[in-house]
Subunit: 517 residues, 2 copies
Amino acid sequence: MSAKFEKNALGRLVPTEVNGKSQIPYQGVGKYKPTGRKYAPPIASCADYPADGNKIVPSLKDALIKSGLRDGSVISSHHHFRNGDLIAVQIFDIAHELGFKDLVWVPSASFECQSSLTKYLEDGTIHHIEGSMNGSLGRFTSEGKMKGMGILRSHGGRYQAIQDGDVVIDIAVIAAPTADPFGNATGDRGPAACGLLGFALADSQYANKVIVATDNLVPFPCVPWQIHGNYVDYVVVVDQVGIPEKIVSGTTEITKSPDRLLLAEMTAQFCDETGIIHDGFSFQAGAGGTALSIGVYFAEILRERGMKARFARGGSNKYLVKMLEEGLVDYILDGQTFDLEGVRSMRENEGHLNTSPFTSYNYHGKGNFASQVDVVILGATEVDLNFNANVVTHSDGVLLHGIGGWQNCLFSKCTILPIPLFRDRIPVIRDEVTTICGPGELIDVIVTERGIAINPLRTDLIEKLKNSNLPIKTIQQLKDEGEAICGVPEKPKFTDKAVAVIKWVDGTIIDTVWEVE
Amino acid sequence: MSAKFEKNALGRLVPTEVNGKSQIPYQGVGKYKPTGRKYAPPIASCADYPADGNKIVPSLKDALIKSGLRDGSVISSHHHFRNGDLIAVQIFDIAHELGFKDLVWVPSASFECQSSLTKYLEDGTIHHIEGSMNGSLGRFTSEGKMKGMGILRSHGGRYQAIQDGDVVIDIAVIAAPTADPFGNATGDRGPAACGLLGFALADSQYANKVIVATDNLVPFPCVPWQIHGNYVDYVVVVDQVGIPEKIVSGTTEITKSPDRLLLAEMTAQFCDETGIIHDGFSFQAGAGGTALSIGVYFAEILRERGMKARFARGGSNKYLVKMLEEGLVDYILDGQTFDLEGVRSMRENEGHLNTSPFTSYNYHGKGNFASQVDVVILGATEVDLNFNANVVTHSDGVLLHGIGGWQNCLFSKCTILPIPLFRDRIPVIRDEVTTICGPGELIDVIVTERGIAINPLRTDLIEKLKNSNLPIKTIQQLKDEGEAICGVPEKPKFTDKAVAVIKWVDGTIIDTVWEVE
């Protein structure tokens, strides 16, 4: 083991240094208190920008060169185009063509459409990724092939890291569905409409140079200006920023699987019996089939009782939009639009609000929205007997997912993970998870098709459900049942090489991802 | 003369140090280039804020004490309630009651309703004001009674100074017409609705502690969140934040004075003949009777020709709102709502946009909106033969006005000052103005009832009007005509004590205000 490691507050071995920068091991929820100051970008002057507001340069290549692209540059991009993104790969094609090496890529998330970047990780164009390493990029990382160490952060952790200067972005490239020559940009309209651009907010505020790339240039002012042109250095007009049908999925639907429907129904019933569903409550659920189904159950309960939710945090989708339009919820506080109905609603409905990791998730702010949500429904690849959960690696140890907003959402008043007891005959509840992404003390309830485990810390919830007909069990019981059916799963095999670290919401390291054997 | 002075690029004597901080003399338009970094506020942690988002404390006094109020604290407030503000004086009443001394007040502007603060300037509670010293506060300053030296900044200069750390705000008190317990706040609704809260944006982003005071608390989320609760430390509910009828003037009307109407008509004709009025043009005019009348002429011309302005920058008022609703302008980019129609329109019309000194005026940004405006109509107390102009002191040398957005607007593509040739039989065009607030190179046209002077630098405008029937004259001719009627005015008499400085948009000192004899 070449790097130095120490055990953090969860007993996990974490490196004391990552890519040459010293690190702080996770100390517990709310324990690490930052003492420094926010990152301070250089002061600009209008004297250096065109008075007529026209910042257009001929190409992305020109913009990157003017922005001072060089060996070791830290370059960021956002993932609002999801698997339809056409810009991130272009950036590194240009950097490769220009012969630059050891770049750092800081995406807000990565997708399969960017898997070709493995060739630049192999040839030294890209040194490492700070963001998420999904799919092929995750597997590449797990196989120990990335030159530097990967750093995974939650959406809120990314804002925190940029704000605090943990990562200093040299050049941010913000692909925008609509923009004006000044750099004002919006995601809610244009051929590649994706809803909002909140994941690029930190980049716009703190990057030293900011490039907006758009395929839909409008005269000043571009309204709404989700991204302020006042932060932007250069504007580039390209043929296409994203492939619309891959940006939003028009087909996200509630689950038809009887098992998943059972999980959804049990979760909704749990929320009802505990009184979590009440007039003026708030909730957040993802865009998966189970989560969508839970939202539909919530809507039914509200409609029946003549009640109304105050707000739903999204990931918006057509089901949430329907609730908003039906008056079952006052506001959608949206961080990412998942379908075309979400995009339309954000554009048209003033109750459908554009949020960002700053408003919703940044732990190094004066509070955020996430902790005010009554209940949040999340997924996990594994959960352990202490309720610690994993969302990034699979049981074979391979890194395949990013953290997203998952860690940030754990701060809600009640966090529920509805998960199947086993997947592909591998039990999901383990003695120890492969990778800890969230500490058990923040995870309140595990709902499986064979029973519900409530975290013993939540004596209030246990008390409320003592006469319930829901199948309340201990997590040990659930684990035993899973293993009785599938057997005790083998542990994944790792070398002693750390290939990536998982940051907690405060910038400390909660766990390490190891090279698979 | 106790302090050290040097001559700046306009030949004006300016202090090298103000209130113990060294200063940079004005160097010319676009000449001073900042090399530092923005001010970096301390990093906060959600661990120190209530998870349920409820930041309410019992009183403004509690909030100020919790915020660490002490001798020498720098305290800011905004002026969106104009002469109806009920909060600023309360802050200093509390500070006085607690016995604190040498405070610095950083309002975005001051009004007569705050004139009672002179007693705290006299007894040492307040050391000096950085912002504006209007009316009684200005006279108090001019009489040499303020302990420290006053600093006047434009709206954009205030954002610049706070962003750059030229002034570090310890405690910002943001009075809000509507807010939620998290500190999200808006100005567009509530009993004291004032439209927007843009003047408090910098304070929210950069002050070490931020207090929101409201008389209209709503459940989270307060929508729109013009001020982000994520920047807010404490929320205080008070009986009344402002007196509605003094906040907005329901009676701002176009001028009925034949002289002023003539100025307005000549200005509009000038804009028409020069081609400034064209399809897609943009303009900014203030809320005075002349400026309003010019807007009405613009509207008539657009309507007749079937043309449309792209945007109007405001100060919004019922005339601009009418243009927006009639489709004569695509957008109002509003920095300050002057009447109830403006407030209503901002709340209801998505073409009526909330702007801030950051978007519109900050010279230390990557461009701003002001330089993109085709024509701006402004006032002045005096203009000199070099087109330098004064907006803060009168011909008797007394400080009576703030700078507002005036300096920032000078960067528009054409700056026109429609002014009477004399006021109270004192000519307005002088050999030298009492106080230079804006350099002549940025002031393009002076329109008086007896002729129009075009800055010789604007050969393009002179060329366009060579066959006009408008009375085009030199500024020397206008000065001579004024003096032929009224005589040569006496110069005001000053001591050698500097009582305040005028900052240019880049933080350098453009002129000094001297104690009147």
